[in-house]
């Protein structure tokens, strides 16, 4: 027990999360409506599910290590990849981004908490119970097995009659409601609770991207929720929304699902972009290059992302015009995305780079996200999509975006903001080991999958025949590397725990960064700020240090 816990009124500054007087005892966490506690809970839950999801992924790779391998049955395999995908998207990706969003947004805009603290808590707990509900299906007669996008008729009860698919739909429905609630909460917080002087042009890029992200959540999740209600009605009440034999349409589900599903990709990646847009400038000691264009390109992506969903359906024979329109939008969305990559590179150019673990992850993100983005452009070219869709090339593509992109950028975010949240620095030694192992493991596991797709290996196969040229060798290589990847994730979790007890004391601003959260104590006091300064630029702490120049207005290249 430390002094401050024994004497909550003493004026000794609190420099460790465990010593914050308001956070004592498990109940203070379980009943919390403090955005910082909820943010940390979100992120910890996400990492717990990340470990579960990673082991499911490892099981997939073990099964595919050799041709005609039978470590698990085809039935178990189909459940494993379904739960892997669902877990990673809904129980890792979403809570991870919400964790960053609700933890950082009030701190970065100089607010005391979210606009609706109880709604914030509701969103988190609904997610926890939703996730538990899906995993409960393992005990209730079998997990869902229709893949994470659950195309009917396969997901109808005529083909998958165990209750796993019902649990899947209910679980996502429940978490979907929580997501929309948190989305609304974020929009209101950002629009109404900014510090004096912080116009929308002056919010940090991270907050701007979270604002766009929240709009995406609000407008796309309802499409999924509607579709989930329909499939539940089909399964439980014998309706026929997706049953072609009596006039329903399986394609209807695909439209609904991808109307949610494509914006979802941007929902997942936007907070990562936001994190990168904070981290790269700080460790290059430079202003973000072209911040205005960066903000505008995010708006463009937000709008365009609602008009690209059919590129998941290019092989459904919808006819020239409907397909081609979506090819055009899908190609167009590459332009604002490219602008971001060039802007990040230009930010580093001419800077004084510090290769911290956070920066290393950001730099690997840049290369890996570029690869994932470029293979995405290939899918927008419809004739190439006809060749590559539903092959292992797709698996490679979206793992480059979601692991090489989202996960790397948010792990960079963890290294960057961990000192703020806990008061302790993360171990850079462990961090650099973890970074290199993860980079090697990730690229080794997923790069070769591009080639497997080109060689005709379809995704979601529980095994593959002997004698297909190259398949056995490439799968074996990928599986070996996946062990390194999973080990690096465990090492990261270990670093989180080790540093919590043994990390150096961080102090309020260990990176000499410029946004408002670094003005708070580390960890911030329960009220966040004792007083909030008037904000005059995107970098208020630069202004505090130098008097002006936060937006680089004294320098025009």
């Amino acid at each position: 027990m430390t002094d401050s816990a024994l004497h909550p009124h003493s004026h000794k500054p609190v420099n460790w999360l465990r010593d914050v007087p308001e956070y004592q005892g498990i109940l203070s966490w379980l009943t919390s409506i403090d955005h910082k506690q909820l943010g940390i809970l979100y992120i910890l839950s996400a990492f717990a599910f990340l470990v579960v999801g990673a082991f499911l992924g490892l099981l997939i790779r073990i099964q595919l290590m050799f041709p005609m391998n039978h470590v698990i049955s085809q039935e178990a395999y189909n459940q494993v990849f379904t739960v892997h995908g669902t877990t990673m998207v809904f129980f890792v990706g979403m809570p991870l981004l919400f964790g960053f969003a609700v933890y950082l947004t009030p701190l970065m805009i100089g607010a005391r908490d979210m606009a609706f603290p109880r709604l914030n808590s509701f969103g988190y707990w609904v997610y926890v119970f939703g996730a538990i509900m899906m995993f409960f299906s393992f005990l209730a007669g079998g997990a869902p097995a229709a893949g994470w996008f659950a195309y009917p008729p396969l997901s109808e009860k005529g083909y998958l009659f165990n209750s796993g698919q019902n649990y899947w739909a209910l679980s996502l429905f429940v978490t979907g409601i929580g997501s929309v609630a948190t989305g609304v909460n974020l929009v209101v917080t950002i629009l109404t609770m900014r510090a004096p002087g912080m116009t929308l042009k002056r919010v940090p890029l991270f907050v701007w991207m979270i604002l766009m992200d929240a709009f995406l959540v609000i407008f796309s999740l309802p499409a999924l929720n509607a579709a989930l209600v329909m499939i539940l009605f089909d399964r439980i009440l014998n309706t026929h929304f997706f049953d072609a034999t009596v006039g329903g349409s399986p394609l209807l589900w695909q439209h609904f699902f991808w109307f949610f599903g494509h914006p979802e990709v941007y929902i997942l990646i936007l907070p990562g972009w936001g994190a990168i847009s904070e981290i790269i400038p700080v460790f290059s000691r430079k202003l973000l290059f072209g911040a205005g264009v960066m903000a505008a390109s995010t708006v463009a992506i937000t709008f365009l992302s609602f008009g690209v969903w059919v590129h998941h359906m290019f092989a459904t024979g919808l006819g020239f015009a409907p397909l081609y329109i979506f090819a055009v939008t899908s190609l167009l969305i590459a332009v604002p995305t490219g602008i971001k990559v060039w802007s990040w590179l230009a930010t580093m150019w001419g800077g004084k780079l510090k290769f911290t673990t956070a920066m290393l992850h950001s730099m690997a993100f840049l290369i890996q996200f570029t690869i994932g983005g470029l293979s995405g452009v290939m899918f927008a070219v419809i004739p190439l999509d006809w060749q590559l869709t539903d092959s292992y090339f797709v698996v490679a593509h979206f793992h480059y975006v979601l692991v090489g992109g989202m996960l790397f950028s948010l792990i960079a975010g963890v290294y960057y903001w961990y000192p703020k949240a806990t008061g302790r620095m993360m171990s850079e030694t462990l961090g650099k080991w973890q970074f290199w192992l993860m980079t090697v493991g990730f690229n080794g596991t997923f790069f070769v999958l591009h080639i497997l797709g080109i060689l005709g290996m379809p995704r979601r196969v529980y095994t593959y025949p002997l004698g297909m040229p190259g398949w056995a060798e490439l799968n074996f290589f990928s599986s070996c590397c996946s062990f390194i990847l999973v080990f690096s994730i465990l090492l990261f979790v270990y670093n989180l725990i080790w540093s919590f007890y043994h990390g150096q004391i961080a102090g309020p601003n260990p990176w000499n960064a410029w946004t408002l959260e670094w003005l708070c104590e580390s960890p911030p006091i329960a009220e966040n700020f004792e007083r909030v300064p008037v904000v005059r630029s995107r970098r208020p702490l630069w202004d505090l240090q130098f008097g002006s120049g936060g937006d680089g207005e004294n320098y025009h290249a």
């Binding site: 195309y151 399986p250 459904t316």
Partner: protein, 318 residues
Amino acid sequence: MDLKNADFTSIFNVATAQNKLLVDLHWFTLGICLVIAFVVTGLMVAIIAKFRTPENDDGSEPKQIHGNTRLEIIWTAIPMLIVTVLGVLTAVTMIMVNPAVGTKKPDVIVVGHQWWWEYQYPKYGVTTANELYLPVGENALFEIRAADVVHSFWVVAFGQKMDAIPGHPTNMFVHPTKTGLFLGTCSEYCGAQHGLMRIIAHVVSKPEFDDWIKQQAALPQQSTDPAAVKGKELFNSATCVQCHRIAGDAEATARIGPDLTHIATRGTLGAGVLENTTDNLAKWMQNPQQFKPGCNMPNMRLTNEEAHDIAVYLENLK
């Protein structure tokens, strides 16, 4: 037939006129993507080399640059130009690969079933399963259907894949330009045996195709081998006929499982999981779940002798 002798399975193996167009566009697009990837990686290497903080750094901040309008216009305009070119090529290639079908009747109807393929040649009245035959040099119109869940038909070297969606028949053209054996697998996840729902396509010369289709259109030979005669009786009296059809056999008219009219002319069993021999067929009938776990054919609980007799009967259906 040994599937290991198949033509190289790769999207870059040009086996059809359509895939020629796709591959040309693919190389062009891939080339652009590789150039961009190298530029980004090269810049990153240069940045790492040039801009790391020097050891004797004085702690001052570098020059702050808020942006550069000219650069920003360049890196918006060049990608716009690239995607415009790609957009035009996309349209041209799409129209050439999938021209309007109009009133043309399909040459081949492909029906995806859990977990095998039915091929119909409506112009010849032929229905067969799991092994597709096409004449080289003729542009065939395919119609793709699904009997149960969503599947996707993809012979890798043909290039284009096309989903099979219940209630939504789709079309594509296939114009083979070289003969050989080409492989694929169902490429939309369809349940337990999605992984071994293999596609086997023979592209043969026109005379060979004519011979093949003539044989398929005819009624199968009736063997007088006593085992075969016994086998036929067993086949018609057991539950086999609840699912399978054999042309000319009044008992066997169901169309749930693969059509067995000319099963002896096929190279494999169970959509590519076993070589088609009498012994293998007998084993398959005794326990299909051993070879294709989860498939819809139940264990028929046949004795060795019964299985042998039915296998002899079926292996005479040429």
